[in-house]
């Protein structure tokens, strides 16, 4: 079976690109798994969620935190475009923890900061 060509892009740089077996992204309405041969879709990402990519070479899955953005799937090409994006192993765990605590302490109406901080921790492999 063919593989997906995946590009994970933020406005400032390309975060990750390569071949993958499967991509899981979270839209506003729930998780969406994409396998090769998927119908063309353009979806809005949940702000502060995690995108998981399973590389074609069977290596460790790549997990990344994404902020507001969208993804498009067409002809086995998946591009994830997010205004904020960070690979799991690049996350500064302490910084993310601090951000989460700050967000919780602020008790603001806007849950985005909290969700983003949680997503960063999740991407780093720590449940929060």
């Amino acid at each position: 079976m063919a593989n997906l060509r995946v590009g994970l892009v933020s406005p400032e740089r390309e975060i990750w690109s390569g071949e993958a077996k499967m991509v899981v992204a979270q839209t506003i309405e729930g998780s969406l798994g994409i396998l090769p041969g998927h119908a063309p879709v353009l979806g809005v990402l949940l702000d502060g969620s995690v995108v998981k990519v399973e590389p074609a070479d069977g290596g460790e899955p790549i997990v990344a935190m994404v902020g507001s953005g969208f993804f498009s799937v067409a002809a086995d090409e998946v591009s994830v475009l997010a205004e904020q994006a960070e690979l799991g192993h690049e996350v500064d765990v302490q910084d993310a923890r601090q951000a989460l605590e700050d967000a919780l302490a602020a008790e603001s109406e806007d849950a985005t900061t909290e969700r983003r901080a949680r997503a960063r921790l999740r991407a780093a492999g720590i449940e929060a």
Partner: protein, 298 residues
């Protein structure tokens, strides 16, 4: 005579150290151009993808409607976003941008519209403040190395104002004056209209796939359009930053060349003065010896 010599030596020393400084600035700018160009290249995939997605969206939903796409004939105010730099030492870079902006503002006035400046960069801000002009909003502190966050901030404010009516302090259209980095030697000031966005009918051999939208086409458009605007602004900021570094490099190069030329002139003058001093000394000695010989001969 000796005083003139000392003065010239001092001048040579000071020109030499100025040349050293400008030479260093030139080299710094050269290395920064490369970085700025890399930033432009790195932002390309995102810009391309978002344009592609937007094209797909618009071409499959003919007659799609969104406030950001609509002309606003009722609104008479026009925003002019002027992108200048925070620092000087860049030749006519800022002067060119401001001149172009001023002629745009005048043209808009002649059309009977009311232009409202939005200024990026310290140089533009001081220019407007010095002349006591009204400015809707200013941003500064990132002209050397703009991040997407900066573009987002500007984009948000502009979109907000665009959606407001005249009475609420909003604007009907948005123009941008920025500098495009054409090559190391050429930087071109550009004036474009950012909003309302225009949908161009283009003949393309590649038909974009018929996308499904998650959750809906309208929601996707809601997200895509502001992002597209921000990515356009980001592109303009990056172009301006690269153009700025190129302008600095050129200005500093000509400053170094001028300093070296001046150094040559001063060195020649100094040599002449030294020769003159020596000649005078000799003639004084000879004159003195002659006088002695004459008086001793008696």
């Amino acid at each position: 005579m000796a005083a003139q010599l000392r003065q010239l030596r001092q001048r040579i020393r000071s020109v030499k150290s100025t040349a050293k400084i400008t030479r260093a600035q030139e080299m710094i700018a050269t290395s920064r151009i490369v970085k700025a160009q890399q930033a432009v290249t790195a932002s390309k995939p995102y810009a391309d993808q978002i344009t592609q997605a937007l094209t797909a969206l618009v071409s499959h939903h003919v007659g799609i409607d969104h406030p950001l796409l609509q002309e606003q004939p009722a609104d008479n105010r026009s925003a002019v976003l002027i992108i200048t730099s925070d620092r000087g030492f860049c030749g006519a870079y800022n002067a060119n941008v401001i001149r172009e902006a001023e002629s745009l503002i005048k043209a808009l006035r002649d059309e009977g519209r009311e232009p409202v400046p939005y200024v990026v960069g310290n140089k533009g801000i001081t220019w407007y403040r010095f002349r006591d002009r009204d400015v809707a909003e200013t941003w500064h502190g990132f002209s050397d190395r703009p991040t997407f966050g900066n573009a987002e901030e500007i984009g948000r404010r502009l979109t907000e104002d665009f959606l407001k009516t005249d009475a609420e302090g909003g604007v009907g259209e948005i123009h941008v004056v920025y500098t495009e980095f054409v090559s190391m030697l050429t930087q071109q000031v550009r004036v474009t209209r950012l909003m309302p966005l225009e949908i161009e009918e283009a003949e393309s051999s590649k038909v974009p796939p018929a996308y499904e939208f998650e959750p809906s086409a309208a929601a996707a458009l809601d997200l895509l359009l502001p992002n597209y605007v921000e990515s356009r602004i980001f592109h303009m900021l990056l172009q301006s930053a690269a153009a700025f570094q190129a302008a600095v490099r050129r200005a500093m190069k000509s400053a170094t060349d001028n300093a070296n030329e001046l150094l040559g002139v001063y060195t020649r003058q100094m040599n002449q003065a030294r020769q003159a001093a020596i000649t005078q000394e000799i003639s004084e000695i000879v004159g003195g010896a002659d006088a002695l010989a004459e008086s001793g001969g008696e």
